[in-house]
Symmetry: C2
Subunit: 399 residues, 2 copies
């Protein structure tokens, strides 16, 4: 199951060292679907978008795309006309090597913003990436898309007779509405483009949008879903049992990738699951959950295993959502640390409530549950703590 | 000029150790204006407000208030009905000691959220705070309102024949729309209540709202402006020369206090002045400036003196304001690090541009100037870097 994007039939992948990264680690990745492969995708909402996002978004909108080339090291964002030309030249050269139409090649980049892609190295490395393509290349692909990731991230799931696989990267600049996060999900089911688009929007986008490492939406975020049809099974029709099984498997791969992403978040020592309930709308619930998950005061409290329920109330109150303070209840793990807007005075005594909340924060994962009223809507956001290492990693990134 | 709130005539102040803080430092402060003193104020926009905010806001709205009692150590927020009762009891006891009507006493609290105010200590300390009242008590007052502040903050200015003074506290949970920030400004000019309110809204609120330490709006933020009339000068009428001079002096005290607050921000090693220009509206400009000043990636980059202009572009693009990326120019100090949305490729070579930006970030203050178009609107936000010490201070606050 660790083959990731090549677990489904009908895909070849590779990942090689082209010399784009000063570190000398793999930095050029290629994923190619068999002829007839369909693709759908979602992209960053940042107003400042990278050149490869513009290119790939346009090609998918036009119905094209059976392969994707990914470079790590340079993000090709804030690179102007030269960046657009570099992205186009990358697609053209890749298409020539693969015998595809240029429009069939999508491009993703990740790395330092502003620095032009090291095109000489990329073009020189391309033949090797094509030669290395194999139906077992999923792991090499997942490794070559990494930037400051500490582990490669891939996943797989079955929806017999079809399979689903995936790979992802991203450890910082991750926020709802996607991130410096690239995710590639593949299936050997036969799915028409419109239905694939629906699967991306219903099974993948909400899962990746529930991630927040630092509230920073990147310029390059991309989630792509490819379907090769190579399982030989009949086309999957919307609403059929096969559709339900496929959607569930795509969702499972999404869950696995999202979990790997948050556990590898920059400097994170504790994953924070924020669950909001009782809201009048899902938007309100999401807004409160994000305010808590992104609060530096909550994040540092989790890092210090210092429950500090007042900071959670502060974050809830500052979310901009209309809330009656006397309707707010908060749980840290199992510890009920605020009831109807009030922190029980006993919390500040040694009655076990604080100790229980502290113990919950010392786990690798802590759940903060927040009820804000009697409404029907809920939301769930995955965040992490803010540690010395986050500051270290991001204070020294390009140097 | 260091007498702060007692620099203007007609005010007495004190600050004493009542035993509310485990540290044993001063924690009870009192400021009393002569009979006839008027007051105006602005308060936190957080939906979760502390009990003393509710009390003081109502009394000011009703036209009352000539004195304020401030305790540090406990914020009296998320304390429910008991918190309301404690705030009321504090005002009643203070009024009795001072021979005032209970409505004439305002209350401010700052410290840990949720923990009930240590009323026994507060009430026991009150007589001493009253006895200690003196026209030279401004410094003692400024010291007793501190929480994690490392220095007391006070300021004074002249608008002859009248004077203006002030004191403030706050180092974290500071964000536009005020903060765990308390600010007290006094003048011995004679100003009617409606005009005093105008001065608060035009000369003080915008200055304190331009501060952001961590994007976290507190439950207790309060800015109060008292006018004693004790200079003996004629009442200051709106629009007169005396009004202009007074407004300017109030603004100068506001500037001085804001500067002291941001320089003492939790863990800050560099103050970041974000100036946005060319926006179509001030709201848009403010939104972009705040997105940049609050971005953890920009803040850690400033901490590491790692200019990384791509992170500034990322933050601008994610602000939610509609912006054409090709219209964005960015300067770090004097270094023009992005032009029309593009980071000059030379930036990544050793041409001095990067070195110049690095040098600017190594100063105690750095200006990030961002042009987003040709519009008439500008905004200016004061922030700071995100350091190891911020994480340390906030990971270990209540423990």
């Amino acid at each position: 199951m660790s083959a990731g994007v090549t677990y489904p039939r009908g895909f070849r992948a590779s990942g090689i060292v082209a010399g784009l990264k000063p570190s000398g680690r793999p930095d050029l990745a290629l994923l190619v679907g068999d002829p007839g492969t369909t693709v759908a995708g979602v992209f960053t909402t940042n107003a400042v978008v990278a050149a490869p996002v513009t290119l790939s978004r346009a090609r998918i909108a036009a119905g094209a795309g059976t392969a994707v080339i990914v470079n790590s090291g340079q993000a090709n964002a804030a690179t102007g006309a030269r960046g657009d030309e570099d992205a186009r030249a990358t697609a053209v050269a890749t298409a020539q090597r693969l015998g595809l139409a240029p429009d069939d090649v999508l491009v993703c980049s990740t790395g330092v913003i502003g620095e032009p892609v090291h095109m000489e190295e990329l073009l020189a490395g391309l033949p090797g990436a094509v030669t290395a393509l194999t139906a077992e290349g999923g792991e090499a692909f997942a490794e070559a898309i990494m930037t400051t990731d500490t582990v490669a991230k891939s996943a797989a799931a079955d929806a017999a007779p079809v399979r689903v696989g995936g790979a992802a990267k991203g450890v910082g600049m991750i926020s709802p509405n996607l991130a410096t996060m690239l995710a590639f999900v593949t299936t050997d089911a036969a799915v028409v483009r419109e239905d694939l688009d629906l699967l991306v929007r219903t099974e993948l986008a909400p899962r990746f949008n529930a991630l927040t490492v630092d509230g920073c939406t990147s310029t390059n975020d991309t989630v792509l879903l490819f379907a090769s049809g190579a399982a030989g099974a009949p086309p999957v029709d919307r609403g059929s049992d096969a559709w339900t099984a496929l959607a569930s498997a795509v969702g499972a791969v999404g869950d696995a990738l999202v979990s790997q992403l948050i556990h590898d978040a920059e400097g994170a020592t504790t994953v924070m699951l924020v669950e909001v309930e009782g809201a009048t709308s899902e938007a309100d619930a999401r807004c409160v959950a994000t305010a808590v998950a992104d609060s530096p005061l909550v994040k540092t409290a989790v890092f210090g295993s210092d429950p500090n329920p007042g900071r959670i109330l502060q974050a809830v109150g500052s979310s901009g959502v209309e809330i009656a303070p006397s309707r707010i209840d908060v749980w840290i793990g199992e510890a009920h640390v605020a009831h109807e807007g009030v922190i029980p005075p006993a919390y500040f005594a040694a009655d076990g409530l604080r100790a229980s909340a502290e113990a919950a924060m010392q786990e690798r994962e802590v759940t903060l549950r927040i009820r804000i009223g009697d409404g029907p809507a809920t939301s769930r956001v995955l965040g992490c703590d803010l540690s010395y290492d986050y500051v270290k990693i991001n204070g020294e990134y390009t140097t």
